[in-house]
């Protein structure tokens, strides 16, 4: 007769399994120990974020970075040589708006200098990476049938993004004079957006919101509502895909992962 009951066997089995599990979790000879959470294999060391602070200077540097995003985009658009024929007038508008953004960038960087900060003199790297570079790649695709129109669509989206950014930082800036300065430029960006909206959807039908009867999608409107929106901006550009669709990008105003912090520098 066995000296162990079935219950004893199960109990011993459980203790043994737990022991094996604990041994597996323990330090092992010859195996490099990760500094991260215990896991199988070795993970790279985590790099902590620097202790950044969202100050008025950081917000203004971010605004300056958007101005350079716009300048770079208009320069790229003008450089494409697509503003000819029916789009010649759009080329003149693009030059005027680019020059306005250069003036805005100077004004914002002047404020930053007055506050003791370092001016920001290039496009926002994060927005370049996730919005502008992919959009320009789609626009300049060899299969794209209407790059001139798409350039205006992108510019319109960037102007809306800039207008929203300035409007949004009003609640974040601590200084009233800075809020006023920001909105002085913000209203310029809103005006830019309205001009480009009229270029895309001209005449009185393009002033207030409307819906395309064929696609059920909203048309571009110069005046999108009673209050300045702070919503994501959808941009559809580039060639028609095999399934008949076109690529869309969703633009959002700069957030904590795309602010021009003090330690962010131009390449």
């Amino acid at each position: 007769m066995s000296r162990f009951s079935r219950r004893d066997v199960l109990r011993l089995g459980g203790v043994s399994a737990a022991g094996i599990l604990l041994a597996a979790c323990g330090k092992q000879a010859g195996v490099e120990e990760s500094k991260n959470v215990k896991s199988i294999g070795v993970m790279p060391e985590t790099e902590g974020l620097s202790n950044v602070e969202v100050t008025d200077i950081v917000l203004l540097r971010t605004a300056a970075s958007l101005e350079f995003n716009a300048i770079d985009t208009y320069d790229a658009a003008i450089g494409l040589g697509v503003f000819t024929g029916a789009f010649a007038a759009a080329g003149d508008i693009a030059k005027r708006l680019r020059d306005d953004h250069a003036g805005h960038a100077n004004a914002i960087n002047g404020l930053i200098t007055e506050l003791g900060g370092a001016p920001f003199t290039c496009g926002n790297p994060r927005l370049n990476e996730i919005y502008i570079t992919p959009a320009l790649a789609l626009i300049t695709d060899a299969d794209n049938e209407n790059p001139a129109l798409d350039v205006v669509v992108l510019a319109h989206a960037l102007e809306n993004l800039a207008a929203q950014t300035y409007q949004g930082v009003v609640t974040l800036l601590s200084d009233r004079d800075l809020r006023r300065a920001a909105m002085g430029i913000g209203q310029d960006e809103a005006r830019h957006a309205a001009v480009l909206a009229q270029a895309l959807n001209p005449g009185i039908a393009g002033v207030l919101p409307s819906v395309d009867a064929d696609t059920d999608k909203p048309n571009v409107a110069a005046v999108p509502g009673a209050f300045g929106p702070l919503t994501p901006i959808s941009v559809t550009v580039g060639p028609v895909n095999a399934d008949g669709t076109r690529n869309s990008l969703i633009l959002e105003t700069p957030s904590l992962n795309s602010l021009a912090y003090d330690d962010v520098a131009c390449a």
Partner: protein
């Protein structure tokens, strides 16, 4: 990471400034009602004017919401009377020009307020109204065949807030 301070409510002085904006917006609402009633405009143009009328009404109502008991909810007669005389006759562009000047005047006034308001809640609301009035000014400039400078530049003088005691 250190974030900026949270949204701050309007102070008593803010509420008086916002009450002024409330009355200015209702004056604009009534001026658009006058314009929309003119026979010179066709249905499409009237629909746009009614749309802008509704935007000013919404702005006035939102300002009233943040002002509370200090909101008069009546139009500023000073603003109304300054533009009312130009909203008549058969010259469509002259009427639209007057409305463009109204939009630019309100935009300049709101910009001035953004620089005076202490609480960020009121400043944010005024900023969102300002951006729309700038756009409405652009639309009116383009529809009257004006050039890019007229659409993009606002040289209107801000109204001086008339605040209660």
């Amino acid at each position: 990471m250190t974030l900026t301070a949270s949204v701050t409510p309007p102070t008593k002085a803010d509420r008086e400034l916002l009450a002024f904006a409330n009355s200015a917006e209702f004056a604009a609402r009534d001026l658009y009602a006058v314009a929309a009633s003119l026979a010179v405009f066709n249905d499409d143009e009237r629909a746009m004017l009614v749309g802008f009328h509704d935007h000013h009404r919404a702005a006035g109502q939102s300002l009233a919401g943040i002002v509370g008991a200090l909101a008069t909810n009546v139009r500023s007669d000073a603003v109304y009377n300054a533009f009312r005389g130009r909203l008549q006759g058969t010259d469509k562009n002259a009427v639209l020009d007057a409305l463009r000047e109204l939009e630019n005047t309100l935009a300049s006034t709101h910009l001035s307020l953004v620089g005076e308001l202490e609480g960020s809640e009121g400043a944010a609301l005024v900023a969102s109204i300002l951006n729309i009035e700038a756009r409405q000014s652009v639309a009116l400039a383009i529809l009257t065949g004006r050039g890019l400078d007229d659409a993009l530049t606002n040289s209107a003088v801000a109204l001086s807030p008339v605040v209660g005691s």
